[in-house]
Subunit: 191 residues, 2 copies
DNA sequence: CGAAAATTTGACATGACTCAACTGGAGTGG
DNA sequence: CCACTCCAGTTGAGTCATGTCAAATTTTCG
């Protein structure tokens, strides 16, 4: 079964016919490992659903340091949401960490679907609510947990991700240096 | 003009009649300074719109330290969103920092309104999108900026808030101790 | 096998924390 | 009007986690 159908119909009731209408607005694209599917300073009026592969979004600060914002694997949405939602130029890079197969949809087409299939706006709202709740939780964890605890939480929350991702990307996601992560990993092994 | 009408109609077109229907689902409540309008471990199937006053939401970690998540003044929504969206028990306290006048709406009534006034779901989605975009931005700032820069950004972004709020609440929002904030303020004065 | 990439280790610097003490202002009661 | 208390904010000293920079080691992959 199509991963996107599964994803949407796990949140709202969706007929096969309706899904056909939805899928018509999507474009299936393949990208190679290391390719950047979004670069900073672009108009980003589209977002992606991952059918296969692994990606990360990150931004580069003034010192040239990369900060990973999000990872995505099969069954996840990914995009430059600040840009997508506000219409401003992109600030993120989105990079394929593996060869990827993605479904791309333009914002205007996606929002047009709200009119044809109103309950799709409920799906969108539910997704946003979950995103906001999890971002809130992540913020809370950021303030509450030690770096070590954040790392342990990350690998226990996303065991599938951890195996597919370099440690320095995890470090960049946790907001620490690879050296610090290495020391934390060592201290966990010893204990 | 009613602040809530102004808020909604700045995002979507809204007739007076429709607003009457919406307002019927709200309850106006007054609270005193220092009152907690939400405490942890409650069911929170409602949220608030601020007509007057100043509030903050915060949680208490295992060490007993308070972490301020959000401030709200006139024209802002506030609630325990993780609890509201997920249906789980609350984790936040929401405290009145001044005497407050609030509009309360229950989740089920609010969502019922989506059926009567479908474009209200667009309003909800737009609010969520902005919330998510600003939370993303806040996360980015957290990783990019020094504590001093975060403080300077806070007071320049919310000059009205700063005057109404104790420094130790700002410190708690920035995730630092009041002592550290004091030292940062001193270093800014000297420079 | 050999080169490049990823990870680990060491030495030192730094920013924030903790804990304790002190300052200054607002409000209160004698 | 003064003494007292409370609260917010400031200051000082010592500690610790993480950063930086450089080098060594291990892993990956053509």
């Amino acid at each position: 079964m199509n991963l996107l159908f599964k994803h949407i119909s796990s949140r709202i009731n969706l007929s096969d016919d309706e899904f056909v209408i939805i899928l018509q607005q999507f474009e299936e694209l393949k990208f190679s490992k290391n390719e950047l599917i979004i670069k900073p300073n672009q108009m980003v009026d589209y977002k992606f659903f991952v059918l296969k592969g692994c990606l990360r979004s990150y931004f580069v600060d003034l010192s040239g340091i990369e900060h990973t914002v999000q990872f995505a694997i099969e069954d996840w949405w990914i995009g430059d949401y600040p840009a997508y939602f506000t219409g401003k130029k992109s600030i993120l890079n989105i990079e394929c960490l593996e060869d990827c197969t993605l479904l791309k949809v333009k914002k205007e087409n996606w929002e047009q679907l709200y009119k044809e299939i109103p309950k799709l706006e409920s799906y969108a709202r539910i997704q946003l609510e979950r995103g906001l709740a999890s971002t809130h939780q992540k913020n809370i964890n950021n303030h509450t947990m030690s770096t070590r605890e954040k790392y342990e939480k990350f690998i226990s929350s996303y065991p599938k991700l951890e195996q597919r991702i370099k440690n320095y990307h995890i470090a960049s996601y946790l907001g620490i240096t690879p050296e610090s992560l290495s020391r934390i990993r060592k201290s966990i092994l010893v204990a």
